[in-house]
Amino acid sequence: MTGARPPRWARRLVALLVTGRHREFVLGDLEEMYARRRGRGSRRAAVLAYLGWGLRSAPRAWASKVFAGAGGDLRAALRQFRSNPRVYIGGSAVLALGLGAGAVAWGIDYGAFGRGLPVSAPDRMVAIWMVETETRERRYDFSPADRELLAERVPVLDGVGLWTWADVTLAGGGAAPQRARATRASPSMFDLLELRPLHGRVLAAFDAEPDGPTAVVLGHRFWVRRYDADPDIVGRALDLDGRPAVVVGVLAPGERFVSEDLWIPIRDGRGATGRDYQMLARLTPGVAAEDLASALGGFGERLPPDGDGRPPEVRLEAAEWVASLRATSGTRYMAIVVWSGVLLFLMALANVANLFLVRARARTRELAVRRALGAGRLRIVRQLALEAAIPALLGFVGACAIAAVALDWYQGLREIYAGGPISSWQAYRLELPHVAVLAAGALLSTVVVSLVAGLREFGRDQPGTLRAGRGTTSRFRLGQGLVAVEVALGGALILLSALMIRSAWNLRSMDWGFETESVLTGHVILDDARYPTPDDRLRFWDAVSAELAAIPGVESTTLATQLPMIRYAGRWGAVRAVEVDGRDPVLDPADLPLHYVDAVTPTFFDTFESPVVAGRGFAPSDVAGAEPVALVNTHFARRFFPDRSAVGGRVRVWRDGEPGPWRTIVGIAPHLWMDTDENENPEGVYVPLAQTAPAEASLAIRVRGVPGDYAQALRDVVRRLDPDLPVADVRSMPELIRFRTRTYRVFGFPFIWVGLAALVLVVGGLYAVVSYIASLRTAEFGIRAALGATLPELVARSVLAGVPAIAIGLAAAIACGLALTRGFSRFMFEVDPWSPAVIAATFATLVLTTLLASLVPALRTGRRLDLVRILTTE
């Protein structure tokens, strides 16, 4: 393990600690000691030892100067804590919330992109892709032939693998047929990902040959679930998409790439040019990513051309694996997550600083006396720092707990929506770097708080303070400023949260315009091996329709290639080029607009209780051989037939560059979310299933009672007709919609909590500060009351003092909030970030809560005035 260096954060920390004449040599020695220690044991132990050495190498003289007499100050700080526990516990809770939120935000980002692949050299793993040379737009994938070329000709690559996701149907092997998630990969992927088998072997080069049964490697979890951890599974014959396959191995526990159930080889044959695969590669040791970029330069022209529409001028680009992920997914989202965490931390910091500022203010006289008695600046600042360290320490412990629980919850949420383990490079949990950052945050809060309070203290005219006694009526500018900052930051997050709550509400109360509650669905794919002709397929679909309709309690049955709101990226696909008769002649079919095309049975609109808008629906007589017909939806009709009825017009659907027959439009279909929730204006065409005979379809039944009660009956129907055919996604329509809209839940809903935390911080911070200021003004209130001021006048005076700060904060909050929500609309359902209602609601919430937070303590002080005592003591 020679050459191992401590993590960068640890090196930086130790570099901060070590000072003095021999600094360079000591730091060098510590790194060497780390490398030697690392050679003997785990990385964690070596890092801890390294930090320990660094800490003990901090110069003693510096330490002794700071810590001399610290015991007395510590006792004084603890006395302060005992006499004002509410201030300290409040401060601790606020810091715990802020620090915890910051750690959770970073933990989410680190969990997604911070670790890299779980291999021995994650920084050598790179993703390679193709882009158009001119525009650099769109990424293109690779073919097995491309892989062979790169593996042979690019010496800086130590291994090259291809992979893609595939949904497969698995039957035989002693278990019921099932749809499974497969990673279709080149055998080299196992070497790249360092995946080890528990039984049998992983895929080998000869498994990629197109003859013989397909070799299958089972994931550990899938093996346990489906085959009950049967150790004799290796060698057993299976049926994969209707073709023979054989299990050659089972992976060890936890070994995975994405959340696949099983692995199958790419068997396109040597030299195949279909570009369907993503590329993962490993750099030769000692090669930097930039060297790869230059090695790949000009390689684009050498790749064989193909007919999939890839432009002729391409070039290859590469990036470290996690960096490439960051570039393609959710950069903006993660940035907002991290910044929200930072904002919450800053708010907490502003809160605690403010709290201590008012505390220091209350003790102006005490501190002035101490200074007059000879306490140096260092002593005063140290005492303030020790006082600030108590909530920092408690806040740190609380933040660790919050972060651990929240990250665990988030991991669970991700796993629920992934339907199993999440990708191998992701994990959301509290780890040593997070704890280190939390500790640094706590330290920072101590430094900031004591410096803010200390600087204010030293900026004061000391003899003047002593002469003037308790100066309580002077303006409190720094505190007001901190309140404004807090309201601004908090308000921005609260606005974001309000938009998320609106989004959640919209999702719950959305009327999709079709029946969802009583509909049960399932999805079936017919394999080419057993259902080769349209007649075979239609016979099956007819039989399924008839049998489903015969289940007692079923009110209506339909089959469709796409259900409303649901989009399967199956072989049939959802999007086709559609030509409208009478429009400008199209010279190149590639120029035709793409639209949603759904093949449905005549009962489709009846099942979803959403009748056709004009004309007629499909009839049982619209079969193959009869006149080809179609329905278009309202959006399609509005666009292509703006000034006349679409009924009677003609369209034709293109597939694989070939035109289908002209179809007469016989009716207008309602808007049924053909492009899911992502598109409110999908333009689409419906065709009779009997005239297209698709190889896959969703089954949907509208039932009396609870849809889930019919799940077994639906499965039984398919099993009776074909025992080897699995039904996937047997779920009620509401469940499917919940799954479909999971992005909003996984990515959007955490922000509701962020907003609530921000609200708590704003209200808590304001309340603490105003109540403290009010308590300091007790004497002033008393004198004013004695002179005839009424309670409302006193309270109004106290509250009005905070109004300018709050007003400035509010204005900044709305501006910041709108800036934050830009680009966030993907995670909000049917919400306009500029929605006046939401902005007004946020504004009202902020005004009300801030007013209440200032009013309550002012009222409390006003009510408890003991005039006699005040007037006799002042």
Binding site: T2, G3, R5, R11, V18, G20, R21, H22, E24, F25, V26, L27, G28, D29, L30, E31, E32, M33, A35, W53, R56, S57, P59
Partner: protein, 112 residues
């Protein structure tokens, strides 16, 4: 005289002799830890060695920067005749003081 040695000075000079009269601070530290089990931080080694440089017991020179040290240089120390004499003198004192009580001290250690 200026030849009197502290305990750590004595041990580090012995480590230097064991390493052939020339060694880096990190090697001295390791030698000390291996033979005595005593853990000394690099900072302490430099402080003591630099004191002995001032007294001409040892001389120092710096090596090349290496990647293993994060691009930092190493510091080496060489034993000087004065240091060797001081060590010999100091060792003789210890040996003389131990005469007649060595067996007893050994028994104490065996008993622990």
């Amino acid at each position: 005289m200026g030849g009197r040695l502290g305990e750590l000075e004595q041990l580090l000079l012995m480590a230097l002799v064991r390493r052939g009269g020339e060694a880096s601070a990190i090697d001295l530290r390791e030698e000390l830890e291996e033979r005595t089990g005593r853990v000394v931080l690099p900072g302490a080694v430099y402080t003591v060695m630099e004191r002995m440089v001032e007294r001409d017991f040892v001389s120092s020179f710096t090596g090349e920067a290496t990647p293993a040290r994060g691009g930092r240089r190493r510091k080496y120390y060489s034993l000087e005749p004065a240091g060797e004499r001081a060590l010999a003198h100091s060792y003789r004192q210890v040996r003389r003081m131990a005469e007649g009580i060595a067996a007893r001290l050994e028994r104490v250690l065996e008993g622990t």
